[in-house]
Symmetry: C2
Subunit: 247 residues, 2 copies
């Protein structure tokens, strides 16, 4: 039976981290909210789960994944589940937890990237919190992006099985997620991210390596991959990347 | 061998979620950065791990836990590890993942609570971002606290094993963490949180029930439990709880 992935249509968002794992696994899945097969698909189907009064394990927010009777929310929990089922995580318990720890740190990076354009929260549009976004983005750009990317570089450098993957000798869901995080940073903060990537060659190489994996390449080249845009988590506002008008 | 917990001294912060699990388990642990036994303790010992050049599995930030050779960062990952070892999580794989999913959602709540007083990030003091904090806190107080607490109430209401715990018939680390989240909300936003708790009786009862567990009660009454304060994640600034000067 195909997995059912539920995420907001129109943006990559956190759903994309799950999509990349499903694509790399070659798993059969339905992207429910982007489908319009019948009344059990589309955004209505997503809202029906979110608002369902009788759901025993309700997700707090998308993305969530249905695998038969199992319903899982929270991106990192979904990846923990898929990692075991599709050999996208080490079998060794300590290494498996290590990959999860990396994933949770990627989740923190993603949340901080979001907050650069929405420091005052989801109650206001970007245009209503632009001065605040400028202040928050400066710190993210100058301190946090380098700190995160250097942490990944350290991990790759110290992996006893080589510097190709974050853990062990094989690709894990955390590698796929780091690829996506770098993609997002390159979209949102191209000037700053390119400069930092030059200092973290193993992270830059991992980003390229994942893009060339046959199933990921096929997915990226397909029409299924949504484009980044200014409704998602990673948004390109040149002013937040350090460009000033007139310069 | 005793666990070694590493977290900033002086605040409960995210370390407290780990402490509560260790206390409930009756586990032997050293709170390293709060100790001053020898040169291997204190904040210096914490910084030595954070800045260690040769650490294979470096934590990105505190808290982190050492169990012999195993070093684990990220609060939710630490709890996943402790949950298995101390029967603080269900054995059934699906329920175990469900408890983890709840924990990740509590982590989101905690991050949002922090951002109410630091919407512009850690680069500025609260006093430097007070107007922004007022705007962000309003949304958190009016929309997010009720949304989160009602979600936990739904989970308790629908638990097939009864409404005493979030999952199954026994206490899990997620119950302990929900207790701590409610404690934090009551400290930081007493007016608003008390009003909402009246609408979610099962969450309020769980909060009371956890406080009365013998080991937790003993810990809360001991001098080991730090007080909440205005350096931590949950901070009591009356203006962020909706009080206005002169009213």
């Amino acid at each position: 039976m195909a997995y059912e992935l539920y995420y907001w249509p129109g943006i990559q968002g956190r759903g994309e981290f799950v999509r990349l794992a499903l694509e790399e696994a070659g798993a059969d899945y339905i992207d429910v909210a982007r489908s319009s097969i019948d009344e059990n698909s589309g955004v209505g189907a997503l809202m029906a789960v979110l608002e369902g009064e009788d759901i025993v394990h309700p997700p707090f927010a998308p993305p969530f994944l249905k695998d038969g009777d199992v319903l899982i929310g929270q991106t990192a929990a979904i990846l923990l589940y898929l990692g075991d089922r599709h050999a996208l995580a080490p079998r060794d318990a300590t290494k498996r937890l290590w990959v999860h720890q990396i994933q949770l740190t990627i989740a923190d990076l993603v949340a901080e990237a979001h907050d650069t354009h929405h420091p005052l929260g989801a109650d206001f549009y970007y245009e209503e919190q632009k001065p605040e976004a400028l202040r928050r983005a400066k710190h993210f750009r100058e301190e946090r992006i380098p700190k995160f990317l250097r942490w990944f570089e350290h991990i790759l450098t110290h992996n006893p099985d080589g510097d190709k993957y974050l853990a062990g000798k094989r690709v894990s869901y955390a590698d796929l997620s780091l690829f996506q995080a770098v993609e997002g940073l390159l979209y949102a903060f191209p000037r700053r991210t390119k400069a930092i990537l030059a200092e973290v060659p193993r992270v830059a190489a991992l980003h390229q390596r994942i893009a060339q994996r046959p199933r990921i390449r096929a997915y990226l080249d397909s029409g299924r991959r949504l484009e980044f845009n200014e409704q998602g988590i990673f948004r390109h506002y040149p002013e937040l990347d350090g460009y000033r008008r007139g310069l």
